[in-house]
């Protein structure tokens, strides 16, 4: 029996034909567990096939040919995975983890073979992730890929990539809003992203939205999901302050007052006696000063 990849390359079989059963209306009759298993097996199989294909083929021209075919295959797999999700999304969450596997596999594959990520595949991946209950592996792999695009100074691609990952992070926050363990992981990831951005020192503004998204997510998580954050712009980048903090309250109140403090309360007047020695000893006794 010819290898699946050989058959695919020879045009003997289309991805659509291979994966058709998953997108078929017959899905409704298949148990979710067996469907998950099928998709899981399929992904393992595709992964193995793709790896074999590339480990045995050193010819550059052939690789290029494979590259376009594999691009096509990935498009189709994504399409089917999306339609599968649409079909059963209301009935089973299990399938989502397999979509994560699929995305992870695609991204690993791109990273391992040092391929450029086309905007079409990029949009596909984003679409898959935004619809699924993603796990962090793929988000992380995706991020690493975005960083590598940035490091290669492909500014246009990096700009799109950062916009996409911003959306992904926001979507992840919405999905995980009520799960504190996952939110903590998301917060840690956001911190890691911010830190890695500063190390790379990207020269232009295309990462700033992404960084703002990370900061907002951290602020939202730290504020228990309170979305009434006070935004504060510093050199084109938005910082989000807690509405319960001194800085957040000050900004809010100063903006509201618009320079007019006439309605503020007078609580002391000039000429009142103040015993600074008594104040010093009170501060010392209460541990505010040494």
């Amino acid at each position: 029996v010819a290898k699946w990849s050989d058959r695919y390359r020879a045009g003997a079989v289309s991805a659509q034909q291979l994966f058709q059963p998953m997108a078929d209306s017959q899905l409704e009759r298949v148990s979710h567990e067996s469907l998950e298993l099928s998709l899981g097996n399929l992904i393992c199989q595709v992964r193995a096939e793709l790896n074999t294909l590339f480990s045995t083929d050193s010819d550059e021209a052939r690789r290029f040919d494979d590259y376009s075919q594999i691009q096509k295959l990935i498009h189709e797999m994504c399409e089917i995975s999306e339609s599968t999700q649409f079909t059963i999304s209301q009935k089973s969450n299990l399938i989502f983890s397999k979509a994560d596997d699929l995305v992870n596999m695609i991204l690993e594959f791109y990273a391992n073979h040092d391929w450029p990520l086309s905007s079409n595949v990029f949009n596909r991946i984003q679409s898959l992730l935004s619809k699924s209950n993603i796990e962090y592996n793929s988000l992380n792999t995706f991020y690493e890929l975005v960083i590598s695009i940035g490091e290669n100074e492909d500014v246009g691609a990096a700009s799109d990539a950062f916009k996409s990952i911003s959306k992904l992070l926001s979507n992840s926050f919405d999905i995980f809003r009520n799960e504190s363990r996952l939110l903590n992981t998301l917060k840690n990831l956001s911190n890691v992203y911010i830190s890695s951005l500063s190390k790379i020192d990207f020269p232009s503004a295309w990462a700033s939205d992404f960084k703002s998204t990370c900061l907002k997510i951290i602020a939202l998580i730290e504020n228990g999901g309170n979305s009434e954050l006070i935004s504060f712009e510093v050199d084109g980048e938005t910082i989000y302050l807690s509405p319960d903090s001194a800085e957040g309250k000050a900004l809010d109140r100063i903006r509201e007052s618009n320079g007019d403090t006439s309605h503020w309360e007078t609580v002391m007047q000039p000429g009142e006696a103040v015993d600074l020695e008594e104040i010093s000893s009170w501060l010392e006794v209460n541990g505010f000063i040494q």
């Binding site: 504060f232 900004l251 503020w264 006696a273 000063i289």
Partner: protein, 114 residues
């Protein structure tokens, strides 16, 4: 020996209604002490606390920055208005827990400046 207050002290109405009721007793008492310190010398705080100037949209405002309670940091944010001898005034905008996100913004402003 008694000193005398040199400034009017004005506070935002929400300090009384929102900030103070949610602070520990110890900090509520400290606030009354800080009012007196500010009224005498809002520039150096009579050497009892440290402060720093705020930036960007909060330019002109100052934060008293070494207030700690139970391991948490607090800030009192105020502005000095001394343009007129007849109306030397300290406006206090808020007194509450410190948001460390602001420090990041402040650091960035300093990094660019120096």
């Amino acid at each position: 020996m008694d000193s005398f207050s040199n400034f009017f002290i004005k506070q935002h109405p929400k300090i009384k209604n929102e900030d103070l009721p949610n602070l520990p007793d110890r900090l509520q008492k400290l606030y009354l002490v800080l009012l007196r310190i500010l009224s005498v010398d809002p520039y150096t705080l009579s050497g009892k606390f440290t402060s720093h100037k705020l930036e960007r949209e909060l330019k002109g405002w100052i934060a008293i920055d070494n207030i700690k309670d139970a391991g948490l940091s607090y800030r009192l944010i105020y502005r000095i208005n001394d343009s007129s001898d007849k109306d030397r005034r300290v406006d206090i905008a808020s007194f509450d827990i410190h948001d460390f996100a602001y420090d990041k913004a402040q650091e960035r402003v300093y990094r660019q400046r120096f």
